[in-house]
Structures are given as C-alpha cells and as structure tokens.
Symmetry: C2
Subunit: 255 residues, 2 copies
C-alpha cells in the first residue's frame, strides 16, 4: 500500500512540516520506500517533484522539506510498490492536461485486474493507479462538458470512484487546481487548522511546529492523509465510501 497526503489552504502555505512527517514513512518509520512524489499548484501551473528513491533518504525530498514551496493545493504520495516496478514512470502523483488545466492524481490501494476503456489518455507506466487515472479522464472527457457545474462533476467523480472501489481498493486525491476531491474506500483522515493556532507534534519524528509563528488569524489550512500525521491533534476520520471536496481549506461539498 501507499500513503497519501493532500493540502487545501486559503492562502499559499508550505507543506514542510507535514511532508517531513510523511517522508519518514518512506523507509524509516514506514515501509513505503519505493519512491515518492509531490505536486504543488501555483496559479494554473504545477510544480512537480518525483523520485523513485526512498523519501527518507532522497536529496530531492530534503529540498522539499527545507525549502518552503507555498501552494493552496498540494498532493503528495509515498509508494510501496504492489503493481508495477519501482521506476520513475510508476511514481505518483500523475499529471495530465484536460480542458486547459493540469489534473493531478494520487491513489492508495490496488485494483488488480482493472481494464480501462480506451481513449486519448494512456498510461505511460505500468501501474493500475495510472490506468485508473487515465480511465477517469477519458470518461470525463467523453461524458461531461468543460464548464460543468461542480455538483454534476462531483456526482460523476463519486460514481466513478465507487465503481473503482468495487473492483479493489480505491482511496484517492484528485485536483485540477481549483478544488481537491478526496475519496475514501478504506482509509483517509483530515484535519483543519485555523485560529487560534497552536502547536503540533509529528508522530514520525521529533518535530514540533508552533503554527502561531507562521500563520495569520485568517488562515485556514487543511490536510488529508491516509494516517494522521500528528500525535496531539484530533483528526477527522473518513467513513468507507465517503468523499469530500475541499476548496480554500474548507469542505465545500461532501457525500
């Protein structure tokens, strides 16, 4: 299995603290040592870092831990390979352009014998995850209009996610830079931080951050992760089959 981490914020926020916690699980406190990747949206653009090396020891991961790249939406993934070799092409998150926006996707779980319908979006690597993503984009492209209302879009995403989850395990993070769609088949939890901010202690390494020092009273920052990343905060655990749509740090729609 793998671990997911997403962020939605109402102001450009760095992911250094949470990323530091997560990357320990890539070869140190966890077995997810088959690569990692992260996507940070910046306006319509997206900044990507991918590495097939374990995140706990990757020099690129160290840069991302130390250099505060600010974003309102980020998607991160550390991998424990089940389907597909440990290669760069199989490293999440995956990115494609649809309707003039970059769509970013990361998946936790397995859908072993997934048979994608054919279409314009094709996997480059050999994971079930990338095949699922391409299938989802092909279905979106074939069935919806580009300016579809968000309620119709999320209904479509939920229906597709549910059908993938029926064929295996499908937890996912998906974004087009405007919103962050999160679907839980088995395991996902979130936390929203807002004023009055306090301190938090990472579970996976000796690190405490006092958010008062790095925030303004208006900031709202939410994290969505496979497993809670801090030991002294209460995370809101998703139910199996639950989805939440995040925008600017808040849940704007849910199942």
């Amino acid at each position: 299995m793998c671990e997911l981490l997403g962020m939605s914020a109402n102001t450009p926020t760095d992911l250094c603290f949470s990323f530091t916690g997560l990357t320990q699980r890539g070869g140190k406190t966890g077995p997810h040592s088959d690569g990692w990747g992260v996507a940070f949206y910046d306006g319509r653009g997206v900044r990507l870092f991918h590495d097939p090396q374990p995140s706990a020891t990757s020099p690129v991961a160290r840069l991302v831990q130390d250099y505060p790249i600010k974003s309102e939406i980020a998607i991160c993934h550390i991998r424990q390979a089940n389907v597909g070799a440990v290669t760069l092409a199989n490293t999440h998150p995956f990115v494609r352009e649809l309707w003039g926006r970059y769509w970013v996707f990361a998946h936790n779980g397995q859908v072993h014998s997934f048979q994608p319908c054919s279409g314009l979006f094709e996997p480059v690597g050999s994971t079930d995850s990338e095949a699922l993503f391409c299938d989802l984009l092909n279905e979106l492209q074939a069935n919806l209009m580009r300016d579809v209302p968000i309620s119709e879009l999320t209904a479509f995403l939920e229906q597709k996610a549910r059908s993938y989850a029926e064929q295996g395990v499908f937890n996912c993070l998906l974004s087009n830079g405007e919103w962050l769609f999160t679907y839980c088949a088995t395991k996902l939890a979130s936390i929203t931080r807002r004023a009055p901010f306090g301190a938090a202690q990472l579970k996976d390494t000796e690190m405490i951050v006092d958010f008062r020092a790095v925030t303004t009273p208006n900031d709202v920052v939410s994290l969505i992760a496979t497993e809670p990343l801090t030991s002294d905060e209460t995370w809101d655990v998703y139910q199996p089959g639950e989805w939440r749509l995040w925008q600017r740090g808040e849940v704007v729609a849910r199942s």
Copy 2:
C-alpha cells in the same frame, strides 16, 4: 528571448556542469531571469523541475547543479519573458502525454500572433510557445499513427517547424524519450564529446571539468544549446532552417 539546452547521451549522464553554466545566464551573466525549467527522462518517466524565479539564485536550481540526476535525454530552458506573464504555468519545458509517452518541448523565439488549430491538447498558460506545442501535438495526433516510421515523423516535424518559423522565430527542442528533435530557425549549436575526453571551461563562470574523471571510453554525450557554453571547445553551429535528430548522443538524421 530565451536560452535552450538539450542533452543526448548513450549512457545516463548528469547535466550539472552545463546546467551550472546555463543558469548563470538567468540573472547573472545573462538577462534570462524570468524562470527556468528542466526535464530529465529516466526510462519512460520524466523528472521535472520548474521555477518562475531566476535560475542564478533559485534554491531548486542549486539542487539540480549539485545533485547529479542522470539521464540519456534532458531538455532545459531559461526564460526571458516576451509573451505571457512570469508564472509557473508559463515556464518551459512543457509536457504532455501522447500515445503513451511523455512529450517534452522547449522553445526559443516568438510567434506573436500564432493561431493554433483546435484540438484535444490545450495550453494551460498564456505563452505562444505552449500554444505552438499543443498545436504540434494536435497535428501529430490527427495526422500520424502512433508507430509511424521515424523518417515520416521527422518529415512531419520539419514541415511543422518550418511553418511556425515562417510566422516568427522558432528554435526548439522536442523529445518523446526515445529521440531528441532539434530545429534551428536562427540560433542553435551542438557539441559531441567522446573519447579521448579532455577538460572544458565554462564561459559563464569559473568552472572547469575534466571529463576523463567522470566518463568511460564508450561514452558519447552531446549538448545542443542556443549559445556555446564552453570557451575552449569548438561547437558545431546549426544553419538557419536546419534540423537534427539525436539518439544516444549521435545525430541519426538531419536535414
């Protein structure tokens, strides 16, 4: 204008030395301070670094200078903005998936009033360069089969490149991970290094590399750049309208 740098090698090779020279031109020895980006192929995958900050002072650029990321094909670009704001979405190189491979493109020049034909590939940002790339992919997708012979593919690429160059200035680097296509409208030069290797001195900063220390006798490494990067080697300057197709460090087809 901008500066391009491409690499084609017959063995995974890092770009640290040439990248160090090029990035000086992003705010230090040159005016190309409106961002930079680089793509390194690794198998079918591609590792991307993009930054809208000047390359001469970017912490991410420093990582790429110091951390030897090995690749057989790399495409790098430093930007001096003419068309489109200084944003991440406007930062080259651009990437799209076509026929199950990642295609990477960087452009030097301007095609001001370019009118792309419509199609599935759409620009995310506002540069003429990305619009040209999307147009090229739409034309490829509409007119060629995925397993078209390389001679037919390059004839098509040449014809498109020539038509873009007739509308403005169009120097480009393009790859799908199997080959590196280079087209010169106004300015491009290459150098091929092979045994017996010697030393070389960068033009833009005090740095000498002795390639004997970092190569084997079988290595063939070629660089293609807008302007020669070294002061003590003879670069092979392209003629206007000339194209060369590179594979494993060698020119395998040319105009």
